[in-house]
Amino acid sequence: MHTTVQGTTTDPADADQQIIASVLAGDRDAFAVLIQRYSDPLYRHALGMTGSPDVAEDILQQSFIKAYSHLAEVRGRFDAWLFRIVANGCKDWLKNIRRTHVSYEEDDQPSNYATPDEDLDRSELRRDLDHALGRLAPSLREAFVMKHVEGRSYEEMADLLGTTVGALKMRVHRAREALQALLEEKYA
């Protein structure tokens, strides 16, 4: 995706590099642009991986601090570099804690469902999906979240994770099979 600024086309990677140069020159506030630009997809990733809004916020905070402190070391695409910091933060957290329950119930998104019954039905599915996701191996959960929650293509996932499209397809397929096995008794 390209953005047009005053009639000129700017590649997002180039725009990031310009902001990084400003921050390195002492303009700390310019870093807010990078936070605004990337916090949503990264928050969704961290939330999908951990299931906890509080933990997702902590991981994002640590990741942005780390990114800021090591900003001079960025080589290549900033968004991919930042994604790897967040993804590693999520994996480290998963290594250190065994989750028995994850929930999206704390989110403050308004409900669009038509009737209280439908609302109840869907919140139950949310809870069960969270629980099932929490039982997947981190690599399978990561692949499923990137594909289905973040809506990324296999090519984009391969680029960010440094692996092959075939390997990621296999992970997503295995994640789906595992989720289906956990959910089909109740919902199919």
């Binding site: 921050v23 390195l24 002492g26 700390r28 870093f31 807010a32 936070i35 605004q36 916090s39 949503d40 928050y43 969704r44 939330l47 999908g48 809004p53 916020e57 994002l60 905070q61 942005f64 601090i65 800021y68 402190s69 090591h70 900003l71 001079a72 070391e73 999206y104 989110d107 403050d108 998104q109 869907r122 599915l125 949310r126 999906l129 594909k147 289905h148 929650v149 973040e150 809506g151 990324r152 293509s153 397809k169 997503v172 397929h173 789906r176 099979e177 989720l179 289906q180 959910l183 089909e184 919902y187 199919a188």
Partner: protein, 137 residues
């Protein structure tokens, strides 16, 4: 207020997304195979990857397609979630006030020192000295 549709509706097509190589004319051939010898579970996976139509997947395994339609509805809701505004403010507030450190070459970085490293280094030097002594005899 949180933006529930941050990409202004221009985002990627909702799952199942069409594959770049998706051609309706070739799909027809595949639909026949899935209804016949194709594995029903594979048909659902292919539908979720945007490789076959929903109708073909339904013919192969309608029950699983129903389940995945519900799951997809929920994952799409999550895809529209954005970072709560107070979180964005807290993220910026947590950024250090000092300027990021300039990159240093490896020879400019302070050398790490600990007891284990000293023991290993001493052992290597002793071994090298002993080897040199043997060679000079």
């Amino acid at each position: 207020m949180d933006n529930l549709n941050p990409d202004g509706g221009r985002g990627r097509a909702r799952s199942p997304e069409p594959s770049p190589n998706h051609h309706p004319e070739s799909l027809a051939d595949r639909e026949v195979a899935l209804n016949g010898d194709g594995h029903p579970a594979l048909a659902v996976q292919q539908w979720l990857d945007g490789e076959v139509s929903e109708a073909a997947a339904r013919r192969a395994n309608g029950r699983d397609v129903e389940l995945w339609s519900r799951i997809t509805e929920e994952t799409e809701r999550r895809r529209r979630m954005v970072t709560p505004s107070p979180v964005v403010e807290r993220l910026m507030a947590a950024i250090p006030a000092t300027r990021p450190a300039a990159p240093q070459s490896w020879w400019q970085r302070p050398a790490p020192f600990n007891t284990a490293l000293a023991v290993v280094g001493g052992t290597v030097l002793l071994a090298a000295g002993a080897a040199l002594g043997l060679m000079l005899r």
